[in-house]
Symmetry: D2
Subunit: 394 residues, 4 copies
C-alpha cells in the first residue's frame, strides 16, 4: 500500500493520491463554495454529498449548486452522516462550514459515523464542546482538521522554516494584526451573510476575535513555534452599536515570556485582507502580509534586506516547493492555499484509511488540538476584557 | 434551453452551467496540469480523455496523472478525435497544449471531428496554418478559443472597461513588456522542458516572441482596443548562443498611428512574471503588472492616484465583479485567471451546443482570429528583424 | 514692518524673510549637524555661535566644524547666553541639541537672556522642569519651539487637513508605531553616541519612549486633532540587559474615548525609520509611513484607494503646497522636513521681533506646550508600567 | 596645504573643506533656487553674486531673492565675470542655470575670467559649442562640472560599484526610461517656465531628449561603465502640437554591442520622476527608480532578491557611506543629491586652487566631457529621427 502511485512521471505540482476522495459539505455558504473550488483544484476530492439546508427542497436546490445529486442532498447532519456511512460510495470526509454554533453538533455526527472532518474555525463556541470533540476524535480515530488556511500559504511555511532553522536568532517579539474594512458602513450589519456573525447565539461571545483574531493567533504560533501562554485584551465597538465587538487589541506572551501584540478590526478603511505577521529576533526579522502573500521579507541584521518570492529555488526551501503550483511571478492566491489544506487533509485521510505513513515534515494540517487552542484563545480574550483587560493565562 | 439553471440561489462567483462539460487534453506537460487545475476549479469541466504521448504505454501512464481512464488514453490526436467523436460520452472540447509545431495538426483533427478547441498560443508556427484553422473553425462551426490567459485577469478587464469608457481620454502611447529571468543561466537550455522551446523545428522562427511577446502584444490590443498595425523589431541572443532569440525589442503603431514600445526577454534577473502594461492618454493613464495582478493603477491627470483592487465595489465595475471569486484582499492568482478562461470557454461551448445566447459583454474569450493576429505579429517581428529593424505592416 | 519682502518675484518655494537670522547651537552632535544643514537650506538662518563642549579647546575645535568663529565658541550655556545677549550681532535664537538631562538648564539660560529657543524632544526629563519652562517662556515672551520634526512633512500636514475637513468622518481608531533596528546587536550599547541614551541620569526614566515613542504620540495627536487622554503601557528589554526599556507597547484613549494603540522598539530587524500612522474613521482611513514619506494613502470607503504624492496639485491642498520645494516625483526627505521646521521657527522669531502677524494657518511649529505634553506622555507610560500596565490619565 | 582641516572631530557626514567657497549664479529660475538650497546645505558654498536678468532693476530684485547684495547683482554674464574676477572676494565658481541656448556664452565668459563653472545639462545646443567649451576648459585650467545630478544619489553610486565589482557578471542589457506627466494638459505649453522649453531657438533641436532623455543616457553609462556607441531614435508629439518632440523612443548599443532601450516622455499620467534604470547581466540585475531613490534592488540569479537601503552598512559599501547624511530609514531626497554634486564640485575647486589631491575614487562629478557626450547623444537622436529611425553612431 503506498500513498502515491508508482509510475508518476507526470511533472505536476503534487504527488497524486491513488484515488480521488469523496467529500461532503455540511453548511454551504460562500466559504463552502471557495473550499469546494480548492478541493476540486487539488484533484484529490470530488464533492458528492451535502447537508445545505434544513428544508429538504432548499437542500436539494443548493446541492445542485455544487453538482450534488438530489439523493445525496440531506436536510440534517445526522441524516447525512447516517446516509453516507451506509452508502457504498459514501463520503470519505466532510467539510463543516456552518455558522459557528453548529460546528460541534455537525462534527459529532460525522465522527460518530466514522467520517473524517475538516471543520471551520473557530472550532466551537464553548471550550467544553471543543474538549468533547478532541475526545471524539480520539475515540473515533478519525482525522480532524481545522481550517486555519493562512498556515497553508507557501511563504508562511517558508517563514516557519526560517524560524525553525534559527534564521532570526532568539525570538524577541511577535506582532500580528488582521485588519479589514467591510464592516465600516453601519448598514452592512443587516446583510444576510453578516447577520449571524453579530448574533451571539450563533457567532459565540465574540465576533471579530473568533472570526479573524483567531487566524492571527494561530499564525503567530504556527510560524514562531512559540505557544501563546498569556494575554490581556480589550474589546471595542467602533462602528454602529452591536452586541459583540468589531475590534480588539491584545498584548501577548509566548513561551519563554516573549512579548507581542495582536489586534484585529473590521473597521479599517483601506484594509481588506490586512493580516500581517512580524517576528523579530536577535539576528533577524520576518514580515508577511496576506495582501502580498507571494513575498516574504526576511531581514538579517547587518545585511541587505531579502525578499523571498514563492516559486522554486531563489531562497525557497525544497520542503516548501512541494506546495508550489505555478512558476515564480505567476501569482497564486488564497484558493491555492485552500488547495494545499485540502491536499494535506487528503494525505491524512488516505494515510489513515490505507495505513500508510506520511513523510516526515510533509503535514502542516492544523488539527482539532489547534482548533481547541483557538477556542481557548477566544475565551481568554473574553475573560480578560471582562476583567478590564487583566492578564489571563490560556 | 437556458445557459444557466433556473433555481440558482447558491451565492457563488459564477452562474453554473447546466452540466459539467467533458474535456480532453492534447499535449500534457506542466501547462496542461495548470489548465486542468483551473478547469476543475471552474466547476464547468471534467477531464476525461487525453493524447499525452505517442507511445501507448507512456500515454496511459501520463493519463493516470490526470485521472484519465486507460481506455481514454490515446497515442495520437487522430485516434483521440476519432475515438471521442464516437464515444457516447465523448469530450465536448479539448485543450491543445503540445509544443507549437503540433498545434495545427491537433486542432485540425479535433475540428474535423466536430470537437471544440482551446489552443495554446502561439496558434501556429506558420501564417498559412493559422489561416487554415480560421477556415476550419468556420466550416466546422466549432468554438475555437486561444489561451491568451492574461486577458482573463479581472483587473485587466477593468482596465479595458476604463479605456472603453474614455477614462484615459485620447490614447497617446501604449507600452508593454514581459520580462523573465529563468533563462539566465547557460545550462538551463539543456533542461527537458526548455529544449523544444529553443528548437526552431518545434518552437517556430522565434522563441521569446512567440512564447511571451505574443502575450504582451495581445494584452496591449485587448486593453487599448487599438489594433497593432505596424512594428519594427530586433532580436537578440543575450545569454548562451542559441538558434532563436531570447530577447527582443519593438516599436509599435496602433490604430490611428498611436505609438508604443514592446519588449520581452528571459534574461532579466529579478523578473519572473514581469508582464507590465502601461497606457497613457490625454486625461489619464493605467498601469498593470502581472506580479501585482490584484491591483490596477489608474491615474486621472490632476487628481490623486487611484489604486483599484480586485473585489466587489470600491471602483470595480459590476461587469468585472462577475469574474471575482474571493473577497477583496484575499488574493487570487493566475490559476483563477485560467479558471475565468475555462468558464468563458465553457459558456461558448454550451451556447453553441444548446443554441442559447450569451449576455452582451459576458464573453472575453480570445478566439482563433486573435490567435492568427498573434502569428501575424510573430511573423512581422521576424520580417522586421531580418530587414535590419525596418518598419513592417502586420 | 512686514514679514516678507515686497518685490519678491523670485519663484521660490518659500517667501523669504527680510533678513537671515543668526542661530546658535547648544549641544552639537549628529542631530545638530542635521539641523544645521536644514537651517542653512531654509535660507533663513546662519549658524554663528555655539556651546559644544565644556572643555574650551574642544569647544573651539567642534565649533570649527560648524564654521563658527573661535570667539563665538563657548564652554557653557550660561557664558554663551550672556556673551550672545550683549554681542551687537548676537544670535536671534538657539537650537538645543544636548542630551536630554541638560535641556532644562540650557533653555533656562537662553530664555533668561531673551533668546528664542528650539529645543529637542523630549523637552525635559521631569514634568516639573517642563512646567518651569512653560513659565519661563511666558514671562520671557520668547518663542519656544520643540523639534517634533515629523509633523513638518508635507504629507503629514496633508493628512491633518484631510482629518480636519472631515475626510475620515468620525474617527474610530488611531494606531501609531515607531520601529527601528539599530539596537539589535548587543554590542551597540557601548557605542559613544548610544551610551547616554541608556543612562537614566541622562536619558531620563525611559529611553525608547522618550526618544521615539514621543514622536509617535505627538504625531497621532497632531494629525487626528484628538488629545491623548489615557494610556496603559508596558516596557520591555528585548535585547541585551539595560537599565531602561528598549521596547514598549501601549493602548491609548484620545478625546471622546477614541481607542488606539502605540508601540515602539529599536529591536525590529528590517525596520529603520518605521514610523507608521494609521487613522481609521467612519468614512475613510489614512496611512503614512516615514520610509515612504512622500506618499499619503487616503482611502474613502467604497471608492478606489487614493495615493496623494507630495508636490503641487493632484490632491495636494494649497496650504500644503507652501511646504513643497521640488516637483512631484523629485523626492524630498527628512532634511527638508527639518527645513520646514526651521522656516516656521524663523517666521515665529521674526514675527515676535518685528511685531508682525503670521497668516492664519501658516504656523504648525510645535511649542513648549507640546513639549510638555510629551513629558506628560512619558511620565504616564512610566507610571502605568510600574503599576503593572494599569490605565493612567495624562 | 590640505583638502580638509586637521582637527575634525566633528562627526558630520562630510569632511569639511577649509573654507566656504563663494558661488555666483548665472541664470536664476526654479532650478537655481533648488541648487542654491543644496549648495548652502552642503556647507561648502555661499551665494554672493548673480546675473539673473538683463534688466538691471530686475537683476537686483531677483538677486535679493538669493540674498545677494545689490552691488553683486549684474545684468550680463560678461559684466559679472569681469566684476567678480577683480573683486577681492570674488566668486570661486558659478552655476549656469540659464535656458540652454545661453550656456555656451555664459560658460565662455566665466572660463575666460578664470572662474570655475558648474553648468546645467544639456551642455549646449550645438556640438561645436560643446567642443569649444572642452577647449576652453583645458586652456583655462578651470574646473568644469555638468549637473547630471542623478549620478549623485548614493544608491546610484552603490549600483555603479556593484557593476564595477562584477556583481552582475557580464552585462547583457541596459534599459532606462524617464517618464513624467506634467505636459499632459494642452494648456501647460503656455506657462512661462515652459515656453522656452518648447522654443527651438532656446531649447535647441529637442525638448524632451535634451531635458530628461540626456539624464537617462548619462545614468545608463555612469552606472554600467559602458559607453553608448550607437542608437536609433524616433520622436513623437503625443500631446498638443508643438515644434519639438515631447516623447521619444530609442534602441541603443553600448560598448561591446550590449543592447538596450531608452525612452522618455512628459505625457505619462501618473508618472512624475519616473527615471528608472535596469541593468541585467549574466549573474544578476539591478533596478533603481528615482521615485524610490532610497532603495536599490539587486538580484543575484538563484538567490532571494536583495534590497539595499541608503544608510550605513547593511549592504552599503563604505565608499558610498561618504555620501550619506541621515540614518537608514530617515529619507533623503534629490536636494541631498544636489548637495553631493555641490560637495564634489567644491572638492574639485579647492583641489585646483590649493593644489591638493583628491583621494582615489572620491570624485564622481560629471565634467564638460560628459556634457559633450550628452550633446552628442542629443544630436544622434535628431539625426536618427530625421533619417527615419536609422542607426547612427555617436
Amino acid at each position: 500500500m503506498k500513498l502515491f502511485p508508482e509510475n508518476q512521471d507526470f511533472d505536476g505540482p503534487f504527488p497524486q493520491l491513488n484515488r480521488r476522495l469523496r467529500l461532503g459539505i455540511a453548511g454551504g455558504g460562500r466559504i463552502a463554495a471557495t473550499q469546494a473550488m480548492a478541493a476540486r483544484m487539488s484533484d484529490h476530492w470530488e464533492v458528492v454529498a451535502g447537508a445545505l439546508s434544513s428544508d429538504p427542497e432548499n437542500a436539494k436546490a443548493r446541492a445542485a449548486g455544487f453538482r450534488i445529486a438530489p439523493d445525496r442532498a440531506y436536510a440534517s447532519f445526522e441524516e447525512m452522516a447516517e446516509g453516507e456511512a451506509r452508502h457504498p460510495e459514501g463520503v470519505d470526509a466532510v467539510m463543516i462550514t456552518t455558522p459557528n454554533h453548529l460546528h460541534h453538533a455537525a462534527a459529532k455526527a460525522f465522527l460518530n459515523a466514522g467520517i473524517d472532518v475538516l471543520c471551520d474555525k473557530p472550532l466551537t463556541n464553548e471550550m467544553s464542546e471543543a474538549e468533547d470533540l478532541i475526545g471524539l476524535a480520539e475515540t473515533s480515530g478519525c482525522v480532524f482538521g481545522v481550517s486555519y488556511v493562512m498556515s497553508c500559504f507557501p511563504m508562511i511555511r517558508q517563514a516557519r522554516q526560517i524560524v525553525a532553522e534559527g534564521g532570526l536568532g532568539r525570538i524577541n517579539q511577535i506582532h500580528v494584526e488582521f485588519l479589514q474594512d467591510w464592516m465600516t458602513p453601519d448598514e452592512v450589519a443587516d446583510a444576510p451573510h453578516v447577520k449571524w456573525r453579530l448574533d451571539p447565539s450563533k457567532t459565540g461571545k465574540t465576533s471579530c476575535v473568533g472570526d479573524i483574531g483567531t487566524h492571527a493567533a494561530h499564525l503567530a504560533q504556527f510560524v514562531s513555534g512559540l505557544t501563546l501562554t498569556d494575554l490581556r485584551a480589550e474589546f471595542h465597538v467602533c462602528g454602529a452599536p452591536k452586541p459583540v465587538e468589531d475590534t480588539f487589541f491584545a498584548w501577548t506572551r509566548h513561551t519563554g515570556e516573549v512579548p507581542g501584540t495582536l489586534m484585529a478590526t473590521r473597521l479599517a478603511p483601506g484594509n481588506r485582507g490586512g493580516l500581517r505577521l512580524r517576528i523579530f529576533g536577535s539576528e533577524g526579522g520576518i514580515e508577511w502580509d496576506l495582501e502580498k502573500a507571494e513575498q516574504l521579507r526576511f531581514n538579517r541584521f547587518g545585511e541587505a534586506d531579502r525578499i523571498i518570492s514563492r516559486g522554486h529555488g531563489h531562497g525557497v526551501s525544497p520542503s516548501v516547493e512541494r506546495l508550489v503550483r505555478t512558476a515564480r511571478g505567476f501569482p497564486e492566491g488564497i484558493i491555492e492555499a485552500w488547495g494545499n489544506l485540502y491536499t494535506e487533509f487528503a494525505m491524512a485521510v488516505v494515510a489513515r484509511k490505507d495505513g500508510v505513513g506520511i513523510p516526515e515534515g510533509w503535514l502542516g494540517l492544523p488539527t482539532v488540538a489547534h482548533g481547541a487552542d483557538g477556542v481557548r484563545f477566544i475565551e481568554a480574550t473574553v475573560r480578560s476584557n471582562e476583567a478590564g483587560g487583566e492578564w489571563v493565562r490560556l
